[in-house]
Amino acid sequence: MDLQHLSIKVFAERPETIDLSNFTGVFNSWIQRRVADELLIDVADYSHVFAGPGVILIGHEANYSLDNAGRRLGLLYNRKAKVEGTTHERLRQAARAALLACQRLEKEQALKFSGQEMRVIVNDRLIAPNTDETFTSLAPEFKSFFDTLYRGAEYLLNPTPDPRERLTVNVRAASRFDVETLLRNLS
């Protein structure tokens, strides 16, 4: 399975203190400063939508957003362009990009993200339909990646059941991890 279009969400701590309306400015400043090695294009504000995509920094290769899907605020990295390499490498690419964005937000906006919990979404229903079979076939790849990320700590992989959803796997480690540690684990 040529798994592409991987999205990774890292959840924010104390989301009730975060005012989404500030983030159109924050993301626009990322465009101004060209902070990523990807092409950043525009900012879309959907903070008026219930449990929606929040504020999105639209890019060519990927979108970054402070995403509120499921009413759980977090930084979502949504990869659009293809990534070469193995599934492990693609997961690593997406996770690293998401964590670097979290790191930037922690430094610049005093946000705090918890690395203990993450969500992986495969944004392509044809390549990866949300079925038990897909999950079973991908689980070893996911395990291999999260073994690296959590450096042997215990964690659980939980797929979401609705077959209409994109393949979505929630990952929860038994212990706390911060963004810096996870970035170190990936390096």
Partner: protein, 757 residues
């Protein structure tokens, strides 16, 4: 670009109507040809527009970031998808939903597409369409196939074509209607979609249906063609027909539609619309797009002359069984409830229910059934919300869903007894906001968020007004509850500000070396009576002062209105001078160093600029029918080459021959529009009109290219070897080129079209 794009065709081929499947294949080939530089960018732009693939702000590869204009370094440096439109820049996909009608599966597909190809949001427009933003042009064929597999087409969603046919969302269930206009809207939409007579317009053409005249949610008066349902007794028999209107429209110069016929019998609806399309295609302005809508043609000719020409055209139309076929099946669109009719009967109501029910419930003429309006803030919904709505529609109705021109979704045929259940389900989705159709339900076009023509942020302003009005919704005086606020990002009026009580459209002003976002205030438009009258512009006010404008005007209306006086009447009574006076201080702009917030727009921290505006694609490029047909012939030559490469010589030869006939037909139609779709007849007409007259002859090569076609016609049935097929392909290419040249000569020799002043 999605990794799965190449696989959707095979996956869905059995689920797509063959004609539509073929169209999408052709579109995909056109994308390929454009990438190879074999289609001109203007032609490709109009091609994609006619498939609903629209440009989006910053697709010229530049964006003002608040400090400087950044060049967006897309990988596709040279390739364009239209003039000044970078290939890799994200675009918008418009999806036509005739009369707004959808089923649950279609809603789910919309959800899937929003998540996989867009930014997670599906947007309902002011014309009952859906729009998806930030779409890659490379993904559009797959996206279209997925829509086609559930019976949705994007054909002619943009460009100079017949746009989505709209209708009241309460058709069939409203006690005020003469009859259900749904089957008529559906039939006309099907009939004109892709019809040869609608391919040569100088501008877009919008159609609307309304079930009644007085309430008139169909907004007939502001459409190019509008039909209001009417019943009439003729010799003791009740007949159905339409009050037909033409030449209405908003845009920068709004026109009220003119009454074309007080009673157009139902069987005349399709042929008369066809005749109108023909007259518009023939005489409508083509060069100056600012005067190319049919309203200008009607105004220029005068209604009587326009009508005479249409009736003359109508008399000449070759009969078409499709004109009346749908009348035998008028009840195909009848809807049934899923659950039995039952009243609430004092059942427990969840908190918030009563307030919601006051504004979001429409009582159907069918006793104890209601239509529920689901308010979508700014027309936006997530995939999860759409799937949730699909679930409710399946559980409580027979999937009777419609979009509305107020950017909402309605669920029809809900049994009253089920309302608490529906409310609770909506609440779980965050879609239980009350205030549908009231002052809280502010509508807006996309404006500067995504539209290339946007001047000021209509969505930003609309969002701000929604928040402020919602905060005090409990204390809002009843008198202003039912006022409507509509916002457009520029004078083009996609937000329909002319028919709002309080309308606004984006403009800009220069001050102290800065450009500043302003909104023109347009007051006193009328939504009812089918957009009965248009509002008047009262002057421009800095964008950041608009909420205060709303506050003052509504406040004054509450305190000074006469008994039973409407907002329109109130505005008229107090007069423009007085209104100007009361808003005068709000027109003043503080200097930048005193309050810099005025120098950026709502929801946008960047210092304001109009430098980001692009060239609009609302109208698309004006590409004639002949050019389209010749491009299709050219594409067939390409397809013939592909077949030959695959070793299919026979098929390649036939395709090459078909391309020559296609080119010949394109030219013949210039002289004999209704030439039958019969190869012998086309070739014979071509011979008489173009070959024998030497019109097709090349100034240097003489009749050689015409001869290729005539010879191919004689020999095409013979088996083709690889060599024969290759030669025929080469000849076909020359025939198509000669057809282009011939058309160019014909155009140059044509006297300008004159219409009566």
């Amino acid at each position: 670009m999605k990794a799965s794009n190449p696989f959707w065709r095979e996956q869905l081929i059995d689920q797509i109507e063959p004609e539509l499947a073929r169209e999408i294949d052709i579109y995909e080939t056109e994308i390929e040809l454009r990438k190879q530089g074999k289609i001109d960018e203007k032609l490709f732009a109009e091609t994609r527009l006619r498939r609903g693939a629209y440009g989006q702000r910053y697709d010229n590869g530049q964006r003002w970031d608040g400090q400087e204009t950044q060049i967006l370094q897309y990988p596709s440096t040279e390739l364009t998808k239209g003039p000044n439109t970078v290939w890799d820049a994200p675009g918008m996909q418009r999806i036509k939903i005739p009369f707004g009608g959808l089923n649950a599966r279609q809603l789910e597909v919309m959800a899937d597409l929003a998540e996989e190809y867009s930014d997670g949001i599906a947007h309902v427009t002011t014309r009952q369409d859906f729009q998806l933003h930030f779409i890659s042009i490379d993904d559009t064929p797959a996206l279209m196939r997925r829509l086609a597999a559930v019976g949705i087409t994007t054909r002619e969603a943009c460009g100079n074509s017949v746009r989505n046919v709209t209708a009241c969302p309460y058709s069939g269930i409203c006690g005020d209607e003469a009859f259900d206009v749904t089957p008529y809207a559906h039939a006309l939409s099907q009939f004109l979609n892709g019809h040869p007579d609608t391919q040569d317009f100088g501008r877009k053409f919008k159609i609307a249906f309304s079930g009644c005249k007085d309430k008139g949610c169909g907004l007939v008066n502001m459409h190019d063609l509008g039909a209001i349902a009417v019943r009439r007794i003729e010799t003791g028999v009740e007949k159905r027909g339409f009050e037909l209107y033409v030449g209405g429209g908003l845009g920068s110069v709004p026109h009220q539609a003119k009454l074309f016929d007080t009673f157009l019998p139902e069987e005349e609806l399709l042929p008369t619309s066809q005749a109108i399309a023909r007259v518009f295609a023939r005489l409508g302005e083509k060069k100056n797009r600012n005067r190319a809508r049919i309203k200008f043609l009607v105004a220029q000719l005068g209604l009587e002359e326009f009508k005479r020409l249409v009736l003359e055209e109508r008399a000449l139309l070759p009969p078409d069984p499709e004109w009346t076929a749908f009348l035998n099946d008028l009840h195909a669109h009848d809807e049934q409830p899923l659950r039995p009719a039952a009243s609430l009967n004092g059942a427990a109501r969840p908190e918030g229910f009563d307030r919601w029910a006051r504004t979001n419930i429409f009582r159907q003429k069918q006793s104890r059934y209601v239509t529920v309006t689901v308010t979508l803030p700014l027309g936006d919904a997530t995939g999860t919300q759409l799937r949730g709505l699909a679930d409710i529609a399946r559980r409580c109705t027979r999937e009777t869903i419609r979009t509305t021109v107020e950017q909402n979704i309605v669920l029809r045929w809900v049994s009253e007894a089920d309302l608490p259940e529906v409310y609770a389900a909506l609440k779980a989705l965050g879609l239980e906001q009350p205030g549908a159709g009231t002052i809280l339900d502010v509508t807006s076009c996309p404006g500067t968020d995504t539209c290339k023509l946007g001047i000021a942020s209509s969505r930003g302003l609309a969002g701000e007004l929604r928040i402020r009005l919602a905060e005090k919704s409990h204390t809002l005086d009843e008198a202003i509850q039912d006022l409507r606020i509509k916002v457009s990002g520029c004078f083009n009026s996609c937000g329909q500000h002319h028919v709002a009580d309080l309308g606004f459209y984006g403009v800009s002003r220069h001050s102290g070396g800065y450009t500043v976002p302003y909104f023109q205030v347009v007051l006193g438009g009328q939504w009812t009576e089918n957009a009965g009258s248009f509002g008047l512009a009262m002057g421009a006010i800095p964008s950041k002062n608009i909420p205060e404008v709303v506050e003052r005007l509504t406040g004054r209306y509450v305190s000074e209105r006469l008994k039973g006086e409407s907002f329109q009447a109130f505005i008229k009574r107090i007069g423009k001078v007085e209104i100007k006076k009361m808003l005068d201080d709000l027109t003043r702009l503080p200097p930048h160093d005193q309050d810099a917030s005025f120098y950026s727009d709502w929801g946008d921290t960047r210092e304001f600029t109009i430098g980001d505006m692009g060239v609009g694609e609302c109208a698309g490029e004006v590409v004639s029918r002949v050019e389209f047909d010749l491009a299709a012939a050219e594409r067939e030559v390409f397809e013939a080459q592909v077949l030959l490469d695959k070793g299919e010589a026979q098929k390649a030869g036939e395709m090459a021959y078909a391309s020559m006939v296609q080119a010949a037909k394109a030219l013949v139609k210039e002289q004999f529009y209704d030439v039958p779709d019969d190869t012998d007849r086309i070739v014979s007409e071509f011979r008489t009109r173009f070959y024998d007259t030497q019109l097709f002859w090349d100034p240097f090569a003489g009749g050689k290219f015409g001869h290729y076609l005539l010879r191919a016609h004689d020999k095409h049935a013979e088996p083709a070897t690889h060599e024969v097929a290759r030669q025929r392909i080469e000849e076909a290419q020359l025939v198509v080129e000669a057809a282009y040249s011939c058309y160019g000569r014909m155009q140059a020799a044509k006297p300008p079209v004159k219409v009566k002043a």
